[in-house]
């Protein structure tokens, strides 16, 4: 598990407490990196755990940070809520260096957070976790009728889709007319 602490900015994070290492920790000293979300809480994560994320792994490979530099420059993920990032970090730590099982029982159970979690995981490119999340999303509608699915997944009806399309067209038309008028004004 990782530990977290309140940071004030990405430039000067306070000293984070280290995460307790698992019993099977490697003998070679492991390097650690730091990430924070929208809430600026800094999470210390090992390089091994971060390998799950293709995005962060790519960033690490390109930057070649030393431990000190990594501490001073946590990776900022301003588009991810703090609690969601916490879930992701927890998952990465739990599955560090382990083959991911076909069914993951450690997946967060909070359905209300699932949507944000999918978006975050997709952004961070964590393939295995995304797989589990999508399965969880699919399970939400298991055995449900079309009406129930429409409600759970907030799917607009055809009439709503048409109305939205009309609205978009109208707005685009207005914008185009506005631009033409502005161009004509400029020409005068």
């Amino acid at each position: 598990m990782s530990s977290t602490e309140q940071g004030t900015s990405s430039a000067a994070p306070a000293e984070p407490t280290t995460a307790p290492e698992s019993a099977a920790a490697p003998e070679v000293p492991e390097s650690f990196y730091y990430v924070h979300g929208k809430d600026k809480v800094v999470h210390k994560v090992s390089a091994g755990a971060l390998q799950h994320s293709a995005l962060i792994h790519g960033m690490i490979s390109n930057l070649g940070y030393t431990e000190e530099q990594a501490k001073a420059n946590p990776f900022p993920f301003e588009n991810i809520d703090g609690d969601i990032l916490q879930m992701v970090v927890d998952w990465c730590n739990q599955h560090k260096g382990k083959p991911t099982p076909p069914e993951d029982t450690n997946l967060p159970k909070q359905k209300e957070k699932l949507f944000d979690l999918v978006l975050a995981v997709n952004y961070l490119e964590i393939k295995e976790l995304l797989t589990y999340c999508c399965k969880q999303v699919a399970m939400m509608v298991k055995g449900k009728s079309p009406e129930e699915i429409r409600e759970i997944w907030m799917i607009p009806t055809d009439a709503e889709d048409e109305a939205a399309e009309k609205e978009a067209k109208k707005r685009a038309g207005k914008e185009a007319a506005g631009e033409t008028a502005a161009a004509a004004g400029d020409a005068k």
């Binding site: 999508c134 509608v141 055995g143 449900k144 429409r150 759970i152 997944w153 799917i155 607009p156 889709d161």
Partner: protein, 310 residues
């Protein structure tokens, strides 16, 4: 708490849909046109689709995977019972559900269910004996690969259905009837084999039927004389540059015949045999060839003749 699925990336939506079983996917496809298109784009394949027409209903079976590959048998199969109304009864492992789409008819239900799995044809359409044209006329079926008539179907029903429905291959399992008209139908493939094969259950075929045959590939449990086969072969040998549509005729005779009487007066060469039957080659003046295979099959050594027009 609801989540806005359509706000996810296309890849995530596709993966989510791939995690759903067939029944849930059908339910999703009915949510909106957009949902239907997403279902189609997920490219889900169905292992087996078949439809069966009863007196006042059509049952559509969708089997997602082979039985040995299915993880959950309950949800591997979906049965849909359709009638002329806009509602259907759905069996998808959660008991009987009634779904209604006010704008749908039976025909549209079938079209929807096939199109979401990117199928343009019904692989197997079975017509039961209780089916009648009055009910069938309420439906427009897409083309089917195999149109099968079960044993109680009448000759009239078969002829009407064959002219109304478009099928690549027709299988008739009924008791014998006068097949003269049926053999003249324009079909790619026809199999006339009663459910219970016996000497009494053979379809009577005459020389005229073979001459008027308009089916590319015919398989029939036939009652035909050696003389008629011999005359047919002689007429074929004598005709020159004449168009004859059939490419293969398989006659299961269920009785022993004399190969000498069948080939009497015909010039032929032996191409293969006689260990597993004999293959004769016939060649006429315009260079057209006909292969005649005569072999005994099964424990009763019953004769099967296959004519292949090259």
């Amino acid at each position: 708490m609801p989540i806005r699925l359509l706000s996810l990336s296309t890849k995530d939506i596709k993966y989510t849909l791939n995690c759903m079983n067939v029944g849930d996917l059908i339910a999703f496809s009915l949510c909106s046109k957009n949902a239907k298109n997403l279902t189609k784009a997920s490219n889900r394949k169905i292992w087996k689709i078949r439809a069966r027409v009863f007196e006042d209903g059509v049952r559509l079976d969708l089997m997602a995977r082979r039985y040995e590959e299915a993880k959950n048998w309950d949800q591997n199969e979906v049965y849909v019972i359709l009638d002329t109304s806009s509602s259907v009864e759905m069996f998808r492992g959660y008991g009987i559900e009634t779904w209604m789409e006010p704008e749908f008819t039976g025909t549209l239900w079938i079209a929807h269910l096939l199109s979401i799995f990117n199928e343009s044809m019904i692989p197997v359409l079975k017509i039961t004996g209780k089916c009648h044209m009055g009910f069938l006329n309420n439906f427009i079926f897409p083309k089917c690969q195999t149109l099968r008539f079960e044993r109680e179907c009448s000759k009239e029903l078969i002829e009407q259905c064959v002219s109304k429905l478009s099928a690549e291959h027709v299988e008739v399992e009924t008791s014998p009837f006068d097949v003269s008209k049926t053999l003249a139908l324009n079909l790619k493939s026809l199999s006339l084999k009663p459910c219970f094969e016996s000497l009494e259950n053979r379809f009577e075929v005459k020389l005229e039927d073979l001459l008027a045959l308009n089916i590319v590939d015919l398989r029939i449990l036939a009652k035909i004389t050696e003389k008629d086969i011999n005359r047919f072969l002689k007429l074929w040998m004598m005709s020159n540059h004449q168009f004859y549509r059939p490419k293969s005729i398989e006659l299961n005779l269920m009785e022993r015949i004399s190969e000498d009487r069948i080939l009497r007066g015909i010039k032929f060469e032996i191409l293969d045999g006689p260990r597993y039957g004999t293959l004769y080659g016939l060649k006429r003046a315009d260079e057209k060839e006909l292969k005649v295979s005569i072999r005994s099959v099964g424990i009763d050594r019953l004769v099967e003749i296959v004519l292949q027009f090259l």
